[in-house]
Amino acid sequence: MEVITLRDVTKKYRSFKVLDQITLDIRRNVITGVVGRNGAGKTTLMKMIAGFTKETSGELRVFGERPFNSLTVSANMIFVDDRMGFPDAFKLEDILIECDRFYENWDDELAKRLLEYFQLPLTFKHRVLSKGKRSTFNAVIGIASRCPLTMFDEPITGMDAAARKDFYRALLKDYIAHPRTILLSSHHMEEMEDLLEDILLIDGKGVGFHGPIIDLQEKFLSLQGKANALETYATRYAIIHRSMAGPLTEWIVDNEYSEAELNELRQAGIRVAGVTASDAYLAMTGQAGGGVDDVFNAMERQ
């Protein structure tokens, strides 16, 4: 059962195309990690799903309805990020009252207990909170509102390591007790890897990858060995990424090798290993270490 469906959805800001012809389905009660580089269009996608902005063309459906101006979508959805707007005069306790007014599944007790745990006094005003505390508060709102579609757009901005860990843990626990569809975008893939079922990678204005996190890991292999050995034996399939790790060179390659071919590689002294999802993600988006080295290497050569 799909909660969100997109068919050839394009979003432009004036003449600048942010997302181009996106087609995807998000299944019900699945935690999907939305990843991609800065400016890839993650937030744009989520704001469109939330009904904040209008798709330029294509068909976008959330709960079977077009989200822009849909009360059903708004009532069953919450969009959490560090720029959520609350009236200046509101204390945290006032915000909780409003949440109770608007969200049917709102769990006031959970929210209050979590806020107490994260040391957020209810008498504080939202606007005086520090960046990390504000993110924590907003994340608590997102968890306790228990909306059938919950979207977190970089919820951990400014949170310290302990708070991040606690947030992921709290989200997972509440998700298990009350399953819902969750979209979670973050740049810290390695931290949320354990939490995610699906990965949605936005790259080059389109979907770079969408599917179970295991599939992403199995797409690639990591080959480590001497540079010349790799050059001789491992050029059969596409090389996604090359990097230097001490004396050894590491290549991340497409996992299309057969068992016999892998044995051949091993005999040539090349270490074959799987990749973590975050390595695969970094390799796919060209973020892994070494990329920017080329800039400096090129300058030295001149």
């Binding site: 904040f52 708004s74 006032d94 007014r101």
Partner: protein
């Protein structure tokens, strides 16, 4: 698949309550404004003329002072215009859209809020007249000729009604202008142009008689027609602002 289904009415009501909670300061600002206005303008709004009546032996002389709360009325209308404008700000929109709403319930909640604020403004401004009477009584040897709630209740309530209607109208004017400007900053230029055309040219004065927009309202002597005109104007402004609001994207970078 999803559990919550709201009706437009129910959500507009809840958004309205949320707006009341979040914008309480708007009402206290008016009270402060009116207090300052009364203290500063209470004396200056007084026009004095002396009449002397002579009848052979007796010379009768008296001071005739007219006190009006025109200043406060102006202040309230100014406040109304600003409030209308403020409610179109991106911050206000983001706050509403943090919770459950669509653009229709957002607009309706704003309208309910305006009605409440207009009633508040209308009642307090008219009651301010009583405060000014108390001020006037501090002067010695005063004989007061005035209409009040008891002597002419109909007059009193029609004052409140008219004041409320004007306040609501000004709020919607501010709101509509604000909505258009939020939609595109180019409207600032257009509105400025329209303002200049209306105030600086004599094109709209025919035969020395000013038939400008304002006269359309304050020149009306029948309260029924006045109500009709206000309702019509409010409906037009509501429709125009909604035409824009319904297209607005929130949280747009």
């Amino acid at each position: 698949m999803f559990s919550t289904q709201w009706s437009v009415n129910e959500l507009a009501k809840r958004q309205f309550l949320f707006k009341l909670n979040g914008n309480g300061s708007i009402f206290s600002v008016l009270i402060v404004l009116q207090i300052i206005g009364t203290v500063l303008m209470g004396g200056s709004a007084t026009s004095t003329s002396t009449s002397t009546y002579t009848e052979e032996t007796n010379i009768l002389s008296f001071n005739f002072s007219a006190i009006s709360n025109d200043g406060q009325v102006g202040l309230t209308l100014f406040w109304a215009f600003i409030i209308g404008f403020v409610l179109t700000s991106p911050a206000q929109r983001n706050e509403s859209f943090t919770f459950v709403t669509n653009r229709l319930t957002f607009q309706l909640a704003n309208f309910y809020f305006f009605c409440t604020a207009a009633l508040f403004g209308g009642v307090t401004t008219v009651l301010l007249g009583s405060v000014m009477k108390i001020f006037a009584m501090f002067n010695v040897n005063t004989v007061m000729q005035t209409n009040g709630l008891l002597s002419s209740p109909l007059d009193f309530f029609s004052q409140i009604f008219v004041m409320t209607a004007y306040t609501l109208l000004l709020m919607l004017v501010g709101y509509t202008l604000g909505s258009f400007i939020q939609f595109s900053k180019l409207f600032i230029m257009l509105f400025a142009l329209v303002y200049i055309v209306f105030t600086q040219t004599t094109f709209f004065t025919i035969g020395g008689k000013n038939i400008d927009l304002l006269h359309f309202f304050y020149g009306e002597t029948s309260i029924l027609l006045f109500t009709l005109k206000i309702l019509l104007a409010v409906a037009v402004l509501f429709g125009a602002s909604f035409w824009v609001t319904n297209r607005l994207e929130v949280r747009n970078p």
